[in-house]
Symmetry: C2
Subunit: 240 residues, 2 copies
Amino acid sequence: MTADTPLAKTHLSVDCTVLGFDGKRLEVLLVRRTGEEGGRRFHDMKLPGSLIWEDEELDSAARRVLTELTGLKHVPLTQFRAFGSKDRTKDPKDVHWLEHAQKARVGRIVTVAYIALVKIDRILVREMEGTEALWVPVDAVPPLAFDHNEIISAALSYERTLASRDPSVLFDLLPRKFTATALRNLYEVVFGRRLNPSNFYKQMARMPYVVALDEFERGVDHRAARYYRFDKKQYDIIRL
Amino acid sequence: MTADTPLAKTHLSVDCTVLGFDGKRLEVLLVRRTGEEGGRRFHDMKLPGSLIWEDEELDSAARRVLTELTGLKHVPLTQFRAFGSKDRTKDPKDVHWLEHAQKARVGRIVTVAYIALVKIDRILVREMEGTEALWVPVDAVPPLAFDHNEIISAALSYERTLASRDPSVLFDLLPRKFTATALRNLYEVVFGRRLNPSNFYKQMARMPYVVALDEFERGVDHRAARYYRFDKKQYDIIRL
DNA sequence: TTTGGTTATAGTCAAAGTTACAATATTTAA
DNA sequence: TTAAATATTGTAACTTTGACTATAACCAAA
């Protein structure tokens, strides 16, 4: 190395891709952003994320930021990738917004992306001061700030590999009680292919960790479906 | 955010986990390091990697650093994870070494880890000035600098997921001509389980992209094995 | 009260894939 | 010539998958 070129020193941020499942589709948790561009205010959305403090660990920064922006606590966040391209901050809109919010000049930013799979029904998204969090179906996500669309794609692909190696992660997305159809829809949407409902029952029957309950749907407009639950102990036994 | 806590600003580095396969075991490319600790010189090893320049893209920095330290060019590096824990630089030995090498004070460092799968026989590792690169079996890697042991574990796990989604990546690790046993050993070592040789032939027979050659091993002290090659075109056809 | 629409769930069967195991083939070294 | 070692082929039981058919339960409209 030559001594006259400066070493890279960058700001660090975290961004959280929190995924939920509404029974039909995957949804991702976004926050609204309000900024100014050429004297005019604009509104758009982004992933919950922020620059982090100098003395923070990445993991705890991700937890802190997610709580601050969405009110969510105790979310099992996992780091899955860093995004460090210089043109992440290509859009002047993003840079203005950031420097206004941070009251500091900001150059290149490396962001560390986290993923979490949560039960969408468990979640109470409160309105925080200035920001507002909301669920958006992943197939209807509008253009977001920075490279957040790219981060979401990477997260979805990461989720697929997670699930194919260890399907139990999928149950994090379902309520404690779920129907066969809900589980099948989840498989279909995660792996991107249709499954034959009838054959899916047989598959379920072969999963000792999916246990049938003596409880059925109510008030549906057709035959009521049985509820099932995920039995983690059974699953761990199998895995040995 | 409060305005009085400084934002994190860190140095950025890249580290390359280059994996090869010698027909029996996976090996990883390491470089020797010489440093000083309490007035005494020490020698140990690390992944090829380095801090990067301010104006560099991550990907090209990884390429540059790998070439500088090992002489390897045209290696298909893929980013797979960032490591940013503050105690990556916990060991004073590592910090001294770094500050001596860089002639600058260095605090926290976020490193972006890359992985590459290469043909071990294609590679000519030249001795560079000051450094020396060598292949080390992954199951015999000694304690390395920084958190490089952890990075290697993460790379191996990443390789497994890669291979299970797209087995063709495994052929990057094999020479152009390989025996059924070599391919089987590779599967065994990557997925960590023994495979029945006899049944493995049938599996191979069902892979249209593994084509048998009319060429056999020489000078072995048992029946000579047939050579096969990987046919990427066939593979791409299947994948549609 | 019956009928039809809709989704849930069970059963059947053939095709394809997996596994364990036995048998045979080639090569070098003794 | 034989033994040791690994390569390859064959076979049969068993499991999984996929397409398809049939039946069940619920609601609403006729």
